[in-house]
């Protein structure tokens, strides 16, 4: 993975660029946590809950998104176990709703006060999808013709569902949010986004 290779290069570059600092040992995690705890004093207890890390976040932080093999495998095993599939067995929802979600960055910021409004998947922040859309980010790979390139296969739809629900079940320490596991998106929303990728009628496949 490019990002993993780059992470190694960054670490190497940092070590080379600042030899005087290369000896600075990584601070103990509890020291970093203490800094965190002291820096959001004005936040409510509910909001402060977001400062905490689960084991996967801790591992990815410690190893800078490039975990050694054993940790890597443990993350994938742990995250795979979290995946919940649609109760009705149908993976693909409504691609039009998925498209709206892909363009929407709303949700869970401290200025996002409208709790009745659904969170947006905001796929376009990082991915290219509809080839006609020119404003897309490049943090993640292009997903143009995603379904078409896979012959709209059911197996690939299932894999893609898993990658959206919990990308770290496939790529340990992926940059991508664990949308389903973190309950940022509902199962139905993930189905809609998946349809945007996998439905032959979706502009992503045109």
């Amino acid at each position: 993975m490019t990002s993993l290779r780059n992470a190694v290069l960054i670490a190497a570059a940092a070590a080379m660029a600042t030899p005087a600092l290369a000896q600075t040992a990584s601070p103990p995690p509890d020291l970093v946590d203490r800094y965190m705890s002291e820096s959001w004093k004005s936040a409510t207890p509910e909001w402060r809950g977001r400062l905490a890390q689960d084991q996967t976040m801790k591992d990815c932080s410690t190893y800078r998104n490039n975990p050694p093999a054993a940790v890597h495998d443990a993350i994938i095993a742990r995250e795979k176990a979290t995946i919940q599939y649609p109760a009705d067995g149908k993976l693909l929802g409504d691609w039009k709703k998925g498209e709206a979600s892909a363009r929407d960055g709303y949700g869970l910021r401290f200025t996002d006060k409208d709790t009745a409004r659904a969170n947006g998947g905001n796929c376009y922040a990082c991915h290219q999808l509809d080839p006609k859309e020119i404003t897309f980010g490049t943090v993640g790979p292009s997903l143009v013709h995603y379904g078409k390139n896979r012959n709209y296969s059911t197996d690939d739809a299932k894999l893609a569902y898993e990658r959206i629900f919990n990308p770290q079940s496939v790529f340990a320490c992926s940059h991508m949010p664990r949308f389903g596991h973190n309950k940022f998106l509902t199962v139905d929303q993930i189905k809609d986004v998946l349809a945007y990728l996998m439905d032959p009628a979706s502009p992503v496949n045109k």
Partner: protein, 283 residues
């Protein structure tokens, strides 16, 4: 005092830009909606600034900051003339280029903004909690700290960032700042590393600074504080940290907090050698 020879041409231009931006973003915080056209216009404006540097409206903040620095204010009716920014009481020139640093009187590492709050508290008698709460201006209220930060930073223009990192607490701030850069948290699993650890990436159309590259890091840290066209005010490095954590879905980062200072220490060290140009102009 800086001279503003042609401020009104600048304002006319910026007003036009603001209209473009305001059409997209209803509040000052919602600045992440991208507009390629806006970025192009800002770039054109940057070129204009090279011909006429005084047309940067950020210079108004510099002037106001200088006036605030000299004026007797606060419950103690004192100026900031005795404020020690690290080079001795009242020494402003070059101070920003060596911040953050450890201050024995406070027994902690401080960046410029944390230090300004300290001085306004100890010398002038302002309440530090109120200062922190009102540090960022909004549409209804200007901020003295934004003006003072612009003034002090501006007095290091042309100098290069150089942090000594000798004191144990300075080394700790750097090390914790580095760990914080890679720390992932929140309902989207984000950390600084999510957006700033690969070269040449962008979110929508916004190019992302890459801190693995010295030149890219230098360009970023040396150009804060900046006049933000989309927000019609000068924003500071503290605001940049606050805004990034907002996007990371964390609660509101406390102004001048240890996390903010540690991250600014790490990022500034990564961008050491960058020639300071503040306030610059940003989208």
């Amino acid at each position: 005092m800086t001279k503003l020879s042609r401020p009104w041409t600048a304002f006319a231009f910026l007003a036009a830009l603001a209209v473009v931006t305001a059409g997209l973003v209803p509040t000052w915080m919602a600045v992440h909606a991208q507009d390629d056209q806006t970025e192009k216009e800002v770039e054109r404006y940057r070129q204009m600034l090279k011909d006429d540097p005084w047309s940067n409206p950020g210079n108004l903040w510099v002037d106001r900051g200088e006036a605030l620095w000299d004026r007797a204010r606060g419950p103690k009716n004192a100026s900031l003339a005795q404020c020690d920014l690290g080079l001795g009481p009242g020494k402003v020139d070059g101070a920003y280029a060596q911040l953050p640093r450890y201050f024995a009187d406070a027994d902690r590492v401080m960046d410029l903004e944390a230090r300004l709050v300290w001085c306004m508290d100890k010398l002038q008698g302002f309440d530090p909690k109120t200062l922190a709460k009102t540090a960022f201006s909004n549409r209804d209220r200007s901020s003295d700290l934004e003006a003072l930060t612009a003034f002090v930073a501006n007095r290091s223009n042309g100098m290069k960032f150089s942090l000594r990192l000798e004191h144990a607490k300075e080394k700790e701030a750097y090390a914790v700042g580095e760990a914080l850069f890679y720390r992932r948290q929140g309902p989207m699993d984000f950390g600084c590393v999510t957006c700033h650890a690969d070269d040449g990436k962008r979110i929508r159309l916004q190019q992302l600074p890459y801190f693995g590259d010295t030149k890219s890091a230098q360009e970023v840290v040396a150009t804060w504080p900046a006049y933000r066209v989309s927000q019609e005010t000068v924003r500071t490095m503290q605001h940049r940290m606050f805004d990034c954590y907002w996007q990371m879905r964390l609660p509101e980062l406390d102004y001048g907090s240890d996390v903010s200072v540690a991250l600014i220490t790490y990022l500034t060290k990564r961008g050491e050698g960058g020639e300071i140009n503040a306030p610059s102009l940003k989208r």
